[in-house]
């Protein structure tokens, strides 16, 4: 590839010669050089300039450029793919969680659909159909043990949701048993799962199940009988769910299982409501007809009251409002939480004062990072200067001192600072020994912002010194001497000549330190006390402890946006190429 780029260069030189040869016969009286110039001008008029191989020069150059681009991209590609896959994809995946919210509508599909017609801004709780839908959803969810998961999710928004769902899940099983008992009392036929299968399942499936044993491999997939979905719509809908659950989650033999109580209540619903039973002639037609007649006299369940009996909270507005507000598949709720707001029926509103925390933490993270950056500049500049101005031999030795802390584990350095800074620590002990501070008046150097700034400055200082040093190395000392010999004072010479040249180093170091500081959390947590809580601490808490990953992702997204903004500004002002390390 390197050769092809070179060829394009030589093509260009060939062009001059070739052109010269073809034209040389026609012109005789002029000097070669002026002739060549005229000829080129001539050629431009007569047609496109050609390269040696006859292609137009422009095209040839473009091709060379393209080849060069391709070559560069080919070199970059492996790393780019590597970073995209191992790093960018995970980040994108993680940030997506900050808006993802399908758990509500997946766990309570019927309820959320029914709720769409409910006016959440009114003062009435939803009506009986919603409660019936809730019963069905809860029944299915508790079989799959998903209801507590939803409870945990909603508990982030509404305190108490967790136990409400846990409690309701346990009791919802009994709720439909009224119907099950009545059907079973009516006719022994309804007790057995195989009888249900005989009219709910297709003949093909029944035949396949007939000879099936566990050793034969997976159970044949349940199929609904043709037309039964029109005859008994609600029952068919639930039965498919039931069959799927038994076969795929429970991994049990469907023909030996007795249906859920929910199946009975759905059948009652079909029989007492609209159905296509009049034209039904399939298996169990007689039993169904008998049941249909009997159903009108069945004792019924009022789901609204049944849920109230489980917990009065079901008759409060806020649980329903929360479910409704969080039923869409995507939500801005996590982001609102991350800026101390909350999603309510009236749109976004501020959280109560005593729960506002993230705004303060973002602000504190910024201020502390800025302070740390400034102290790094203050301490790093003289060191970088002296490194750049000492003979290389000495500078290299001193550079080892700068690099050594790098080789000491971050955790160890942080612990060492704890040993140094605490009230019974090395610094205070020394000061007391020297009599500078009184023993009962020891300095508070740790568990506050002072401790954070000292420890973090120390940890990040090398990241400031190295870029500064590499920039300062390139500044000619002669400029400074020239300035002085022209009459500048030491200060003027430094401030007007040296300092501006060292700016890229300061910029590079600052951005590096600031960005790194913003993301630290172990060190501030150890030495910073209550003032040392950075936003990253909360992100870590939500990810590893509270399991509120959505909120963690939203906080992370905001933090990341801030960092990227800084990065962009930095790239515009200084250029990322100017960052140098060592």
């Amino acid at each position: 590839m390197a050769l092809s780029a070179l060829n394009s260069d030589s093509n260009f030189t060939n062009f001059d010669q070739a052109d010269g040869e073809t034209m040389s016969d026609a012109q005789t009286a002029q000097t070669a050089s002026s002739a060549a110039a005229a000829r080129i001008a001539d050629a431009a008029h007569t047609g496109p300039m050609l390269a040696a191989d006859g292609t137009p020069l422009k095209k040839s150059l473009n091709r060379a450029l393209r080849v060069q681009k391709m070559r560069a991209l080919a070199l970059i590609a492996p790393l780019l793919i590597f970073v995209l896959v191992t790093f960018i994809a995970p980040i994108a995946d993680m940030l997506f969680r900050s808006v993802e919210n399908d758990i509500v509508s997946e766990t309570l599909p019927r309820t959320t659909t029914m709720l769409s017609g409910w006016g959440e801004k009114g003062t009435d709780i939803p009506g009986e159909p919603v409660f019936e839908a809730l019963y069905q959803d809860m029944f299915v969810a508790q079989e799959a043990k998903l209801h507590t998961r939803l409870g945990s999710r909603l508990n982030y928004e509404l305190t108490g949701a967790s136990s409400l769902f846990r409690k309701s899940g346990r009791k919802v099983q009994d709720m439909g048993e009224v119907y099950q008992d009545q059907f079973e009392d009516l006719d022994g036929f309804w007790k057995k799962g195989e009888n249900w299968n005989s009219f709910m399942a297709s003949d093909a499936w029944l035949a396949a199940m007939d000879g099936w044993k566990k050793a034969n491999g997976p159970q044949p997939r349940f199929e609904l009988r043709d037309g039964i979905a029109q005859t008994l719509p609600a029952t068919a809908d639930i039965y498919v769910k039931y069959a799927d659950f038994i076969q795929n989650v429970d991994k049990a033999n469907l023909s030996k299982k007795d249906p859920w109580a929910l199946v009975y209540s759905s059948l009652y619903r079909d029989l007492s409501g609209e159905n296509g039973l009049s034209s039904y002639t399939g298996p169990a037609a007689a039993e169904l007809a008998a049941a249909a007649t009997a159903a009108s006299t069945f004792e019924t369940v009022n789901y609204t009251d049944a849920f109230k009996k489980i917990d009065r909270d079901w008759h409060k507005l806020d649980i329903w409002q929360t479910i409704k507000v969080y039923s869409p598949k995507f939500t801005s709720g996590y982001f609102l939480n991350a800026i101390d707001m909350q999603k309510s029926v009236d749109g976004a509103e501020m959280r109560p004062e005593n729960e506002q925390i993230y705004g303060l933490l973002f602000w504190r993270t910024m201020v502390m990072s800025l302070t740390i950056t400034l102290s790094c500049i203050l301490l790093g500049y003289p060191v970088a200067w002296i490194l750049a101005n000492l003979p290389a031999r000495t500078a290299n030795l001193l550079l080892i001192l700068v690099l050594l802390p790098f080789w000491t584990s971050l955790l160890v350095r942080t612990s060492a600072w704890k040993v140094m800074l605490q009230q019974q620590g090395v610094i205070n002990d020394t000061l007391v020994w020297l009599g500078i501070v009184a023993t009962d008046d020891r300095l508070a150097l740790i568990n506050n912002s002072t401790g954070t700034v000292i420890a973090m400055t120390h940890i990040l200082l090398p990241f400031m010194i190295l870029p500064m040093y590499s920039v300062m190395q390139t500044i000619q000392p002669t400029y400074l001497r020239a300035a002085k010999s022209l009459g500048a004072t030491n200060w003027t010479a430094f401030w007007r000549v040296y300092f501006p040249q060292s700016m890229p180093g300061i910029g590079a170091g600052s951005i590096l330190v600031f960005i790194l500081a913003i993301g630290y959390y172990i060190t501030p947590a150890i030495v910073g006390g209550t003032e040392g809580t950075f936003i990253s601490n909360r992100i870590a808490y939500h990810i590893s402890s509270s399991l509120n990953w959505g909120l963690g992702a939203a906080l992370g997204a905001i933090l990341l946006a801030a960092v990227l903004l800084l990065y962009y500004a930095y790239d515009k002002i200084v250029g990322i190429d100017n960052v140098k390390l060592g």
Partner: protein
């Protein structure tokens, strides 16, 4: 998500080759997750070593219990559960159970009956705080103090934490609401059996934080179990809350000038959960181990290495002497009748509901 999925598939394909040896689940191994430190050590000696000797099963220790909840959820999401058994706190067990990440346990069927003939569920009693939880130990969060810094009147009541006049100096408290708010209300005059009712109201929460506010400037907040012992050893604090096992080791093993309170100790449980989604063969192996490791004798054995009480009632009489120091361990158990005169049992149900809310308020209070 399409992009992510495509990327994921391609990554999976690229790495398929490397994956072959990454799947390290050998036929005769158990990966057990615990906390590390002295606690893991006690499990190693009391459970793992005898079990391995008996069955030849190799036990791999992973010290990730602090991240267990989130790691289990991610594994479950990915459908790739690599852990066999996880040691967690009771509160985490409830959370994991709620999230459907742990399997439910029928104690009488799956665990060994007590040595005194009682059924497993009776023997464990109240410690079975969740359907998924297999208790091992009872521990308590309590207060230790520097004997050389409290003068002639060492504290006898938990409320010494809030008494900065009698006991000036810094005190260390856990950087989370659980435990602290209960103590705050208790010392603010709320009767012990009303505390959770009061805490369930916003006023009660305000009241607890207001009480904590009186000592806020004197508190060093700890988050790692090793913090308070270190602070006590340094003389950096006059008193601090920590786990009773840590205080025992500080006093008895390290001979530091430290005393401890049993007043209003917050009793808590620690135990196993079995992750959901294990294949049959691994599940069978885990069940076998669990049955072995939670029988009466094994739980009593553990107490020889660390001063945490066995969760079975039938194990208590079998608690012997410390393995190295040779001192009697029974008087150092949080469940010992002399120590258990005034205990405080965490209400897990309450915290499952109020944890998120209370934590937000507590943190907001903390940073102000």
């Amino acid at each position: 998500m399409n992009l992510t999925k495509t990327l994921m598939t391609s990554t999976a394909l690229t790495l398929a080759a490397g994956m072959s040896f990454a799947d390290g689940h050998m036929a005769n191994e158990l990966t057990i997750i615990s906390w590390g430190g002295a606690y893991s050590n006690s499990q190693q000696k009391a459970y793992h070593a005898p079990y391995s000797a008996e069955t030849g099963v190799k036990i791999i220790n992973d010290e990730s219990s602090a991240e267990a909840v989130s790691k289990l959820r991610a594994m479950n999401e990915a459908g790739n559960v690599t852990w066999d058994l996880v040691d967690v706190e009771a509160a985490d067990a409830i959370r994991l159970c709620d999230e459907g990440l742990a399997i439910e346990i029928d104690a009488d069927e799956m665990l060994a009956a007590g040595a005194d003939g009682s059924s497993a569920s009776d023997d464990f009693g109240d410690s079975l705080i969740s359907d998924c939880f297999i208790p091992q130990i009872v521990f308590s969060t309590t207060v230790g103090y520097r004997t050389d810094m409290v003068g002639d009147t060492p504290p006898t009541s938990i409320c010494a934490i809030f008494d900065t006049d009698a006991y000036p100096g810094k005190r260390a408290l856990n950087k989370r609401p659980i435990g602290n708010v209960e103590w705050a209300l208790l010392c603010d005059g709320v009767a012990k059996d009303e505390i959770y009712d009061v805490l369930a109201t916003p006023e009660g929460q305000e009241r607890a934080l207001a009480k904590l506010d009186t000592i806020k400037s004197d508190v060093i907040w700890w988050s790692a179990g090793a913090d308070t012992p270190q602070l006590l050893a340094d003389g950096e604090i006059v008193m601090g809350s920590t786990y009773n096992g840590r205080l025992f080791s500080l006093i008895a093993e390290q001979n530091q000038p430290v005393g401890m309170l049993w007043d209003a100790q917050m009793l808590d449980f620690d135990g196993w959960i079995i992750p959901k989604g294990l294949p049959e063969d691994r599940l069978a192996r885990v069940m076998d181990y669990v049955k072995f490791a939670t029988d009466t004798q094994r739980l009593a054995d553990q107490a020889a290495y660390i001063s945490y009480g066995p969760a079975r009632a039938s194990s208590a009489p079998l608690v012997g002497k410390h393995a190295e120091l040779g001192i009697d361990m029974a008087p150092h158990m949080p469940t010992d009748p002399a120590n258990a005169q005034n205990v405080f049992v965490t209400n897990y149900e309450f915290w499952a509901d109020y944890r998120d809310d209370m934590d937000a308020k507590f943190q907001a209070w903390l940073v102000k």
